[in-house]
């Protein structure tokens, strides 16, 4: 990747530099990968709170009297059924039933929706939504450049946001339910506060005009100073979402993956009484031998990583070849790490249906060593409610 491709900077970049962040290229953006320690940031989110800059993500407005109908056609879910102030996880499918992107949709008014897409898919999501809305009375506007996104995640997040006195929430945060959104004001500017996230903890995501992003970030950090709030980077975000069993586009999701393979069959609403892109292919579904996404848990400290093969047998290649010829892998790891919360290695992998049942033992080829792993239900981690 050329240097110029990774020169997009968050409106919060100066804050991160001042906080001593290390940066990584993510979808062409220079984003904080960690501030001090991935593990400390991970544990802070599980036990107190973390604040994340997600300004690289794409915010796409869909507005107009036909916006709900347009989204029903463009996405796999029935977005017209959303109440005002409600959020929904959905999928933008290819005509062949694969996944262009996974998105969260917020209904802000009868005729006003916000679609939040992955940074890496911003162009594709804007293009597909625009193309698919053509026949409807709906306008698609990419508002990403004007919008910063700050996430506050962890059990302490509500108390911290309640102490940001300059943040005037429309609905008291204690009454804002999970997957709901409320409009708010900060420094006389409009802010959206959603009770959503990607960590497996309680938490909030705040969509804010870029010109007040820095002052809001600073106000939250100050409000959280006595509560264990730390700035957290993308490294901890990845281990948090992995423990929570949440797929990442590009790792678990892609254009060649059917939602049903990823355990997201329920997101595709085949009961919807209108047509949508990918419907026909989704009705036929993946074929019966298509690999499916599973959780793998193992012992020790060596984690399976993206791209490592998964085998049904622990015998070495040489033994198997002598017995019955070369043996193909039964799957491939898509994400993996030594789980900071659980203390043992975890991974997500696409495996053959024959070895996908929970309790099945498979073997991850960790750079030449076959490490036994047990198929387990996702998520690996669920917070105490």
């Amino acid at each position: 990747m050329s240097a110029s491709a990774s020169e997009r900077l968050s409106p919060l970049h100066a804050v991160h530099v001042a906080a001593g962040a290390s940066f990584t290229d993510f979808a062409g953006w220079q984003m904080p990968v960690r501030y001090t320690s991935d593990l400390a940031e991970h544990h802070a989110v599980r036990t107190a709170a973390g604040i994340f800059d997600l300004s690289h993500m794409a915010e796409i407005a869909v507005r107009g009297t036909g916006a709900a109908a347009a989204l029903d056609y463009a996405l796999a879910g029935r977005l017209s059924a959303l109440a005002i102030g409600q959020a929904k996880y959905s999928l933008l499918l290819t005509p062949d039933g694969g996944i262009v992107d996974d998105v969260v949709v917020y209904r802000l008014a009868d005729d006003d929706f916000l679609v939040v897409a992955n940074a890496s898919n911003r162009g594709a999501a804007v293009q597909e939504l625009t193309d698919r809305a053509v026949a409807f009375d709906a306008r698609v506007v990419d508002e990403s450049d004007a919008t910063a996104l700050i996430a506050v995640q962890g059990p302490g997040s509500r108390g911290i946001l309640d102490r940001v006195t300059a943040l005037d929430a429309g609905t008291p945060l204690a009454e804002l339910r999970y997957y709901r959104v409320t409009s708010a004001r900060f420094a006389d500017r409009p802010v959206l506060i959603a009770r959503t996230g990607y960590t497996g903890e309680d938490g909030f995501e705040l969509y804010v005009p870029v010109d007040v992003a820095e002052s809001l970030w600073t106000a939250i950090v100050q409000a959280g100073a006595g509560s264990g709030l730390v700035p957290a980077g993308l490294a901890s975000r990845d281990t948090l979402r992995l423990e929570a069993g949440m797929p990442l586009y590009g790792s678990e999701l892609g254009r060649d993956i059917f939602p049903a393979q990823a355990g997201l069959g329920r997101v595709v609403n085949l009961a919807k009484d209108t047509d949508f892109v990918g419907r026909h292919a989704s009705e036929n579904g993946p074929d019966a031998v298509a690999r499916v996404l599973v959780g793998l848990a193992s012992e020790g400290r060596r984690a399976g990583r993206a791209g490592y093969p998964v085998y049904a047998s622990g015998d070495t290649e040489a033994v198997m070849e002598a017995l019955e010829g070369a043996v193909d892998p039964a799957g491939i790891v898509t994400s993996g790490a030594l789980s900071p919360t659980l203390g043992h290695p975890i991974a997500m992998a696409y495996v053959d249906p024959a070895v996908a049942r929970p309790g099945t033992t498979v073997y991850i080829d960790v750079r030449g060593t076959r490490i036994p792993a047990t198929v387990v239900p996702l998520p690996f981690y669920t917070r105490a409610s």
Partner: protein, 125 residues
């Protein structure tokens, strides 16, 4: 504290080696910071003959896996069991308690001074 003590010699692959026996080997502050939190170390086993510049052993952080490169040719005589048991000491003290193994050097390889190594990492983007 300097990031790169003058008392050590450095390899371009971001290992350090003691200037005199016993020749302890570890990873540099630069490598420790770039890896993030180290969660697993697999140093070459005692008795292994390693060749300068070749990969022997691995080090894993939450985010990545890296090979360990031998900074000289020789035989491994000891590994740091404390660091294997608690890899976080590699981040906390890469030149002290976070050493990885001891090498009985049979053939030294060209290494960098602290100043030369500093210049090498400064030249990185």
């Amino acid at each position: 504290m300097t990031d790169y003590p003058d008392t050590l010699r450095y390899a371009a692959e971001h290992e350090w080696i003691a200037a005199e026996p016993p020749f302890r080997v570890g990873i540099t502050r630069y490598a420790a910071d770039a890896l993030g939190d180290v969660v697993y170390i697999d140093p070459p086993a005692v008795g292994t003959t390693v060749t300068a510049g070749s990969a022997f052993g691995e080090i894993e952080s939450t985010k990545s896996v890296s090979d360990l490169y031998a900074p000289a040719t020789g035989v491994v005589t000891e590994i740091n069991e404390a660091a294997v048991a608690d890899p976080s000491i590699v981040n906390d003290d890469p030149y002290g308690s976070g050493w990885l193994y001891v090498l009985e050097v049979s053939e030294p390889a060209p290494t960098l001074s602290a100043e030369e190594y500093q210049a090498l990492v400064d030249a990185k983007p």
